[in-house]
Every structure is written in structure tokens, then in C-alpha cells.
Amino acid sequence: MSNLSKPIPPAGGPNALEVDIRAKTFRGADGEDVRAIEAIAFSVAPASFATLIGPSGCGKTTTLRIILGLDREFSGSLKLPDSGGRVAAVFQEPRLLPWRTVDDNVRLVLSDEEADGDLDDLFEILGLAEMRSRYPAELSLGLARRVALARAFAIRPSLMVLDEPFVSLDEQTATRLRALLTNVWSARPTTAVMVTHNLREAVELSDRIIFLTERPARVRGVYEIDKPRAERDSRWREATLTSIAKRYSGIL
């Protein structure tokens, strides 16, 4: 896992990620329409980190799916940072291949040249060293989620999309993994979009937080964070949390 050990020149696509969803409606199995998104427009500057926060079921995952190109039936437009670049995604569920071992699940996302690379460091830091020859059915949910993170961290993407990456983990592990993400990301800044329900996490990691309303989702407000990550100590964090809570009632 070379991008963990040696410093790499800043990466990420040359352009901003520009999302402009003007409407997204699902046709339900019962024939009724479900309006998921009313209007979500935001942009993420090259090599910066944005977080989406919104009530459960408001349309966050739908937005990420549109960004990932998994859903093209919406009205609006989308500009990716780098159309040829790779994308690292952590889905809301682990989405591992049940018939491949942990090791293979991670290795499969590598390109052919990288496939024989050394992943020991990565597995070690994620606490998966012992699990490499296991199958997903033998993992606890927290372990499986970590494998999904390993998969995203194993490649060098130009865009990262993370849907609640640190959920279902104990506080200690989550903290360690957030630190890992910060490291990986600082070593090679990539345009990143994350969804979380954890405002603390958002404040710690992001450059920009986008608050969404209830379904059908609209952008409720955008909170910019200019403070360099290194300087975000716990006092600053509490102050920021309070200021956000004041501005967007009901978030905390």
C-alpha cells in the first residue's frame, strides 16, 4: 500500500465536482412516484473534502449514487473532477463479494499492475491482518465495514465517495480510522464527498458541510471550514459545533 508509506504529489481531478440535481423522482413498485430530491446543487473544489448531512431517508445516498454514475435518471447535470480517473467508494453497506476472501476483495479493485502490491500495512492499520484469508460471512459487521474501507484506501482515486464510512465501529477504532483517512487524504488530497450523521466527524474532516432538508431534499445551508486540519483542536471543535447548532436547529 504505497500511498500509505511514501508521500505522493497531490492528486484528485483537475476540476471541481459540480452537482446540480434539479429533481429526482423514483417510480415505486406500487406505481406511485416518490420525490427524493427537489434541488441539490453544490460544488466541491479540486482536492477538497465535502460532507453531506441530512435526516435519515432524505436523499443523501441517492445523491451519491448520482455522483457515482449509478443512476442517470434524474434531471440536472453533473460535472466530475476527472472523467478518466478512478473512484473510491465506500457504500452504506459493505458490498463485499461473499465468495472471495478479505484479501481478494481488496486486491480485486487494484489494477493489474498493482495487483501484487504489498497490502500488509493497510490491513495492519485497519486491524484486519488476521482476517485476510477469511470470507465475508465470517466477519462481524464492523470488520466487514473495515474491509470496505480498505478497498477504498487501496487505490489512488481522483474522487472519493464515502457513505457513513465509520458507522458500526467502536469509538476507538473509529477514531483511528478517521486519523487514517486524514493521513491518506493529506498525503494525496483527493476530491471527496462523505455522508455522515455524526457532526463531530464532519467538523473534524471536512472543508465544507452541506446540510440537507427532509425529503424531498433541498440544500438547507452550506457551512465552510477554513481552519487547516492540523489546527482543529477540541476547543475549536466544540465552538464550531455550537455555532453550527445555533445556525441549523435540530442538527445536534
Binding site: K24, R27, A29, R72, E73, S75, S77, K79
Partner: protein, 276 residues
Amino acid sequence: MADDRQSGTAGRALMPASGAGVLPSVGPRLVTVVSLAGLLAIWWVAAILADSRVLPTPPQVAEAFWRDAATGELFFHLAMTLMRVVAAFVLAMVIGSVIGICLGMNREANRFFDPWLILFLNIPALVIIVLAYIWFGLNEAAAIGAIAVNKIPNVVVTLREGARTLDRDLEEMARVYRFSAMKTLRHVVLPQLQPYFAAASRTGISLIWKIALVVELLGRSNGVGFQINLYFQLFDVASILAYTLAFVAVMLTIEFFLVQPFEAHSTRWRPKRARG
């Protein structure tokens, strides 16, 4: 390079995901009609090119069809065969599914009965049919039983594979919430087996029909198999095809007006395939 994916207008987004596609304006019925017409055209051209008694043209087959349809003979034989096919199908599906699901869910039973299954899978239809006729007489029950016995092992194998892949998580949920055996079967097990049932019945009905032909050939005095054999002796391929296509027409009707609507209904919960 930036990638600008402009995804149409608001109107597009309101379209159901399943309706869009290569032929968005063509209705499903029309596609079927075009498909059948294409098949007919291919056959016609091939028959004209071959110009052989062995591959008659559609009009020749139609003529053979009308000849036997006018006397009502064709419908009589078709009805007899359908009766046998339906009876044997119901028997085979019920018995085969029960056995298959049990074997799939119980490793020990499966280990014990697996050799039996392989034996019954591989006994030639001829042997079963002849033995059935000899033991139970040349009658309808023997005929239908013989067809069913031929098909049962296939149903068992398919449903057994299905039962092996049953979701453990859902089974546990049902256990914890004390679902009765009936409830578990109806709401947890059978819906998971739907694709296996679909496969077993589609391949099943065609296999049963083919075996019915042999059964009728060997010891029945009516039915499509009886007629086909008669025409085979005369090498009258047009008549053979007329009977075959009459049966196929019945199957197509069942497929399009019964099976497909039912299937669409029972699988409406499935997430639609992504078409990014």
C-alpha cells in the same frame, strides 16, 4: 477532462426505469409480434431455399393443420396430451419440490438420498415407461405416473440447489420471531425459491411434453405423440410440424397471458437493474 453528463429534462426523470431502453416507443406486445414474425420469415426463407420435403413451408404446414383441425382430430389429440401434461406437471412439481426442499435443507438426508436421486435422474424414459405400463397396465394412470416419475428428479435437483442457497439471516429472523412452519414456508422460503420454481416449471413443462410424446408413442392410442409417430412413419413432416406448432402455440399463450403477468406481479419487489 471534465465529464459533463447532462441527463435530459425533468420529463425524463419521471419515466419509470423499466420502460426506457433501446425500443422505448415499442410496446411489449408489439415486440412479441415482431419476434414471431421474424421467426416465421426465417423459417419461410429457409424452407424455400432448402426446397425439401423434410422442411415444409409455412403454407404447407398450415394446410396440414387445417386438414386435421377441420375434422376436430387435432384438437382432440391436443386436448388428450394437454390433459396428461397438466396432470403430470402438477404431480411432478408438488412431489419434486417437497423432496427437493427437504434435501436442500437437510445435509444428512441429502447425503443418503443423493445416490438414489442420481439413479432416478439417469434411468432412461423408455425403461420407466415400459415398466409402468407392464406393472400398472396400459392405462392413463400408468402413463401420467410414468411421465411424472421421469420429471420428478429434475425438479428435485433444481429446488435442492435453491434450498441450499436459502438466506440464513432471514431464516434466523423467522425463528426468533416464532414464525410457524407454514408462515416460514410461505413468506420466507418460497419467495426465495421463486427463480428456481420458474426454471423448474419452464424447463419442466417442455420436458414433460417431450416425455408425453414417448409415452403416447409406446402405449397410448391418442395424443399428439401418437399422431406425430403416425406421421413420422409416413414421413409427413408438415403434419408433424402442424401438431408441434399447435402445442407451442398453447404454450406461448400460457406463457404470455398467465405466466408472465404472474411473474411480473410476484417479482415486482426486485430492485430494477441499474442502467447507468
